[in-house]
């Protein structure tokens, strides 16, 4: 295939990528998006392979075969593990970009330093810094999400953390500038940059708590895309630049949406160290909460007109989505109007709850955005909180000392009654006490989310079979 033909293949590939993203704007057209993406990728790969004289077919075949062996099982992970898988694949993306940049540098260095123009070296430096920091940062994020034992779940903080991190990045950039200016004389600095980028990736993610993971994952998504853009500049390849830019802007927008949903800035998420208020929260006096049995809760929910379910990460951890579906069925059968309130940062990645609920076939018009549902909260009879915590904490509205102050929340406390399912009174991932649990109209249902929702379903099924439990029993409460 000749030069122009390859460029045309790349052009078509770019158009298909844009269509792929465009078709993601509605579930109806979304599956077409995958087809377009696959076609675009196939075009890009075939165009590339036909474009130059390939020597090492054996290496290519081996790597591709191995990637199918690893990639196919990776796509079977349970939906609750999707955040980890996503973080892991960002790590792979970073690794690929970093290695291509490194290989290209040493190749040009050995073939002739005249190839190492300042512009190319600059692009290589950007590519490897972004690539390798994405690699280790994403691995740390994946480890935190998978709850690997030797990776601390809680934010790790120490004195002068931000200063030392920024200092480290500064050294890496300074080394980068030296390599750009004198690519041959300072070639020994190249591994140093790689090492610093790897270290910086780890240090960037360890102070970030689980509640901020949606933002971090989006941001790493953006970095993976931008490193592909830098690769495009290195290899003088427009397809890499366009596809990378699409990915980079996607990650950027998702992180902006996530930040806005928490009313925080980028810098605050990255350098704010969420865990600092823990000491304050722990010192609060022990207060009592009211508990309710699943039997009682089932009776009340049965009598309600409007029920709102607020899912959170706890639902994912307990794999409770199937029970939630059964509960939805039981209540709907009785003419109860059931909606799901979705907070943008519920769960560990953007849209996490939507996918889990789609898995169990909850109609997606029942999944309502926080802003659309909050005005109806005072007319809601019962709110059932399934494993959500910070996103329903009313302290965000009034407690200026709370780390989540100012974050938009789902107004679960404004409903007529609230049931919260929780394993114990231990504070959530962010380490903040939740005022909602102490409110007058809140009743706790202690236990594993899956077990408790299962009990609720069982109660409803039995009372349905017995036909008609006296309404007085519920009214008496």
């Amino acid at each position: 295939m000749s030069g122009p033909a390859i460029q045309i293949a790349y052009l078509l590939s770019t158009a298909l990528f844009i269509f792929a993203l465009h078709w993601m704007n509605h579930p109806r057209t979304a599956r077409r998006a995958v087809l377009a993406g696959v076609a675009a990728m196939a075009l890009a790969m075939i165009g590339t392979l036909l474009g130059f004289h390939v020597v090492n077919w054996d290496w290519i075949a081996g790597a591709v075969a191995l990637s199918f062996v690893v990639g196919i099982p990776l796509s079977w992970v349970p939906l609750t593990a999707v955040p980890q898988r996503t973080a892991l694949s960002h790590a792979f993306g970073g690794l690929a970009a970093g290695l291509v940049g490194t290989a290209k540098y040493y190749l040009w260095l050995s073939e002739g330093p005249e190839n190492l123009t300042p512009f190319r070296v600059m692009a290589i430096v950007v590519e490897i810094i972004l690539g390798f920091l994405t690699l280790t940062g994403s691995l740390m994020a994946a480890g935190k999400l998978q709850e690997v034992r030797w990776i601390p779940q809680r934010p790790v903080t120490y004195r002068f953390q931000n200063q030392s991190n920024l200092g480290l990045l500064g050294i890496a950039v300074a080394c980068g500038i030296l390599v750009v200016l004198r690519p041959v004389e300072f070639s020994y600095l190249f591994p140093v940059i790689i090492g610093l980028a790897l270290l910086f990736g780890v240090l960037l993610v360890i102070p970030i708590g689980g509640a901020d993971m949606p933002t971090v994952i989006s941001l790493l998504n953006s970095y993976a895309g931008l490193s592909a853009v830098a690769m495009g500049f290195v290899l003088d390849n427009k397809l890499l630049v366009t596809a990378g830019a699409l990915d980079g802007s996607s990650g950027l927008i998702l992180s902006i949406i996530m930040c806005r949903a928490m009313n925080r800035s980028f810098t605050n998420v990255l350098f704010g160290a969420f865990g600092k208020a823990q000491a304050v929260a722990a010192s609060a006096e022990t207060r009592t909460v009211k508990t309710e049995t699943p039997e009682g809760a089932a009776l009340i929910m049965e009598q309600a007109n409007h029920v709102v379910i607020v899912p959170g990460y706890g639902m994912a951890v307990a794999q409770a989505q199937h029970r939630v579906r059964e509960l939805y069925d039981q209540l709907t059968k009785r003419g109860v109007d059931v909606k799901f309130a979705i907070h943008p940062v519920a769960g560990r990645m953007p849209g996490h709850m939507n996918v889990l609920l789609a898995e169990v076939n909850i109609p997606y018009d029942k999944l309502v955005e926080m802003d659309d549902l909050n005005p109806d909260m005072p007319q809601t009879d019962v709110v059932l909180v399934v494993g959500a915590n910070d996103v329903v904490n009313p302290a965000a509205r009034y407690d200026k000392t709370s780390p989540i102050y100012g974050m938009p929340i789902i107004d679960a406390d404004k409903a007529q009654m609230c049931f919260a399912i929780k394993r114990s009174m231990r504070p959530g991932f962010a380490g903040i006490e939740n005022e909602l649990y102490y409110a007058d109209r809140t009743f706790m249902l202690f236990g594993d989310a899956k077990a408790v929702v299962g009990d609720l379903v069982k109660q409803l099924a039995e009372s349905g079979a017995a036909h008609g439990v006296p309404a007085a029993a519920a009214a008496a409460r």
Partner: protein, 132 residues
């Protein structure tokens, strides 16, 4: 809100400026195959693609943010193009090995990224059919 996206675009462009400066120097001093005009056209491509990306992504349904992320993940595995060039070329073995690892990493993202995106989207599609 619009301002925020403006800031985002400005940041992306600001990142490109130092590249622009060294690039134009490079065309004079280094010669080689990175002439200034070509490089500026790359910047144009980058900027326009970023604008298109922002425009398209902002209209993506919030329901689909998780599949969107796995889809863009597969798309960013376009790094496979670079990996193929490195692996396939006639280079010293250590370069080929680096290329092969990069190829493995990006191909894994392509395979698992598209498959899992499709798996998630099937769930939304299923509903679409069951509901008249």
């Amino acid at each position: 809100m619009k301002g925020r996206y403006g800031v985002a675009v400005a940041t992306l462009l600001a990142m490109a400026v130092p590249v622009a400066v060294t690039g134009s120097e490079g065309s004079g001093a280094g010669g080689g195959s990175a002439p200034g005009t070509d490089f500026v056209s790359m910047l144009f491509v980058f900027m326009l693609a970023t604008f298109i990306g922002i425009g398209v992504i902002m209209r993506v349904s919030r329901l689909l943010h998780t599949p969107l992320m796995s889809l863009t993940n597969a798309i960013s595995a376009i790094a496979v193009v670079g990996s193929l060039v490195i692996t396939g070329g006639d280079h010293p073995t250590f370069i080929t090995i680096m290329g092969a690892v990069a190829l493995f990493a990006s191909m894994t993202n392509i395979v698992s990224g598209f498959l899992i995106t499709d798996r998630m989207l099937k769930m939304f599609k299923k509903q679409e059919r069951s509901q008249p």
